[in-house]
């Protein structure tokens, strides 16, 4: 594959006091690919994602975006460079409608955020883009519902819709399927398999079916360290992975 590398880490480390949550990690994420990341709980996956989006500052090491080091820029600038993320713990505007949630996201691209006088409701296009984002994740019907009043699973969908609404080029998704029903999961899987043709997606997920189905590249992390990266098949059969993460035998015990 000769896709461009968009995002890269070089010797990335994150220590919490004495704890090495992430230890010397070097990875590359490519355009038009979905890069799956798995690993046991506490392996540092969320930590990695949090650093890729600027939420945490690395203890040492570098993050490169299109070859440029961005380890020291402000958190909001990550999003402006097209690095969007969803949160593991649902993180939305819970007192606003689903549409409004996405509108906030769209508005950053459309501008006018310093316009004191122009009504926020006056631009049809903004609403349209926001609605499209909702429809993409299958929340079209919930458009005008207050976010806190839709179910947990739906909130997870909304979470992704919001990231999409910012039209990112890199999508960092932290367990987007957690708490979703089968149908909704399937919807997201379909969605992601479409999206990965256009975006660079980094997906952290414990749902193995989804990960195996979607990943072009798969990285396994254990205890903050890189264990193996490769195609799904390579990784799945790696005995170390089995021991550390998947366990023997089937998903069902």
């Amino acid at each position: 594959m000769e896709n461009n590398v968009i995002l890269e880490t070089e010797g990335l480390c994150k220590y919490w006091g004495g704890l090495k949550a992430l230890d010397d990690l070097s990875l590359a994420f490519h355009d038009n690919q979905l890069h799956g990341i798995v690993g046991p709980n506490g392996a540092g996956k969320s930590t990695l994602l949090n650093m890729l989006c600027g939420h945490y500052k690395p203890t040492s090491g570098k993050i490169l975006h299109r070859g440029e080091s961005i380890s020291s820029i402000k958190p909001y600038e990550f999003a402006r460079r097209g690095i969007g993320r969803s949160f593991q713990k649902t993180n939305i505007y819970s007192n606003s409608t689903c549409l409004e949630n996405c509108s906030v996201a769209v508005q950053r691209l459309m501008g006018g955020s310093f316009n004191f006088f122009r009504s926020r409701y006056s631009q049809k296009m903004l609403d349209e883009i926001a609605t499209q984002a909702l429809e993409k994740v299958g929340l079209g019907q919930r458009r005008d519902h207050i976010a806190s009043q839709i179910s947990y699973g739906e909130q997870r969908q909304l979470e992704i819709a919001m990231v999409l609404a910012t039209s990112p080029e890199v999508l960092l998704l932290d367990e987007p399927m957690a708490g979703m029903g089968h149908e909704e999961s399937q919807l997201i899987i379909d969605l992601l398999s479409r999206l990965k043709k256009e975006y660079c997606i980094v997906l952290v997920e414990h749902d193995m079916d989804a990960i195996f189905e979607l990943s072009d590249q798969l990285t396994v992390m254990v205890d903050g360290q890189h264990l193996v990266t490769g195609s799904v098949d390579e990784v799945r059969d790696d005995p170390r992975v089995k021991e550390a993460y998947l366990g023997q035998g089937d998903e069902v015990y």
Binding site: W16, V38, G39, P40, N41, G42, A43, G44, K45, S46, T47, Q88, K89, T90, Q149, I150, S151, Y152, G153, E154, E175, A178, G179, M180, G181, H182, E183, E184, Q186, H206, M208, A244, Y245, L246, G247, E251, V252, Y253
Partner: protein, 236 residues
């Protein structure tokens, strides 16, 4: 086998929106019951209504033959019920160790089957994080802690709302293993989860919710024979 929990025609509302429309089911002691349904069908609301975190407009909840509908949440929990909530309910200002210490107690029979040490043995991961605050844990670690915290109260009825969410496959298996042991030791459980295969093996009763109504209430065998229909309801 005696009737442990009985839920009768619960109607619950959030403000004006009517979420539960007469949910009824019962659970015998020692049994495991699965509560299934798509997102937003009212599973969590049912559990919260049982626990008194949501006040039902009508309907009754009885536990061991006693009507507990009008009791405060803590009084219900004192009757040896434990809860692992959706979203884990961590305390941001307590360490892992304190989470377990604060919850630990013997049940009404005076038994202390689950204690601090046993939880840490079950989830060795937590042992390495004893002094982390609840919110300084990874998602999965939080989930383990939430389960541990429920177990150290030595419940008679354990209620798990999406307890395996966010856990790695290996741990997930362990959790199921734990639940099985729990069940075998005579503790009853209500489980909300989306993994129907596991539920099928583990649970004695299966309740399927659609839009706040119980559409199916099956025992293990019945589930076997109606699997397709159930899967239809769940959108598998």
């Amino acid at each position: 086998m005696s009737n442990l929990l009985e839920v009768k025609s619960l109607h619950s509302l959030y403000g004006e929106s009517h979420v539960l429309h007469g949910v009824s089911f019962s659970l015998d002691s020692g049994q495991a019951l699965s509560l299934m349904g798509r997102n937003g069908m009212g599973k969590t609301t049912t559990l919260k209504s049982i626990l008194g975190l949501v006040t039902p407009r009508s309907g009754t909840v009885s536990f061991k033959g006693e009507n507990i509908t009008n009791l405060a949440t803590w009084q219900r929990m004192k009757r040896d019920i434990a809860y692992v909530p959706e979203g884990r309910g961590m305390f941001h200002n307590l360490t892992v160790k304190e989470h377990l210490q604060v919850a630990a107690r013997a049940n009404n029979q005076g038994e202390k089957i689950w204690d601090y040490d046993r939880v840490l043995d079950t989830f060795p991961r937590l042992k390495e994080r004893l002094s982390n605050l609840g919110t300084q844990l990874s998602g999965g670690e939080q989930q383990m802690l939430a389960i541990g915290r429920a177990l150290v109260t030595n419940p008679e009825l354990l209620i798990l709302d999406e307890a395996t969410e966010g856990l790695a496959p290996l741990i997930r298996k362990e959790i199921w293993e734990v639940i099985r042991t729990i069940k075998e030791s005579g503790i009853s459980t209500i489980i909300v989860d989306k993994n129907i295969q596991v539920l099928q093996k583990l649970c004695d009763r299966h309740v399927v919710l659609v839009k706040g109504k119980v559409v199916m209430n099956l025992d293990a065998e019945q589930l076997q024979s109606n699997l397709a229909q159930v899967e239809g309801y769940l959108g598998v």
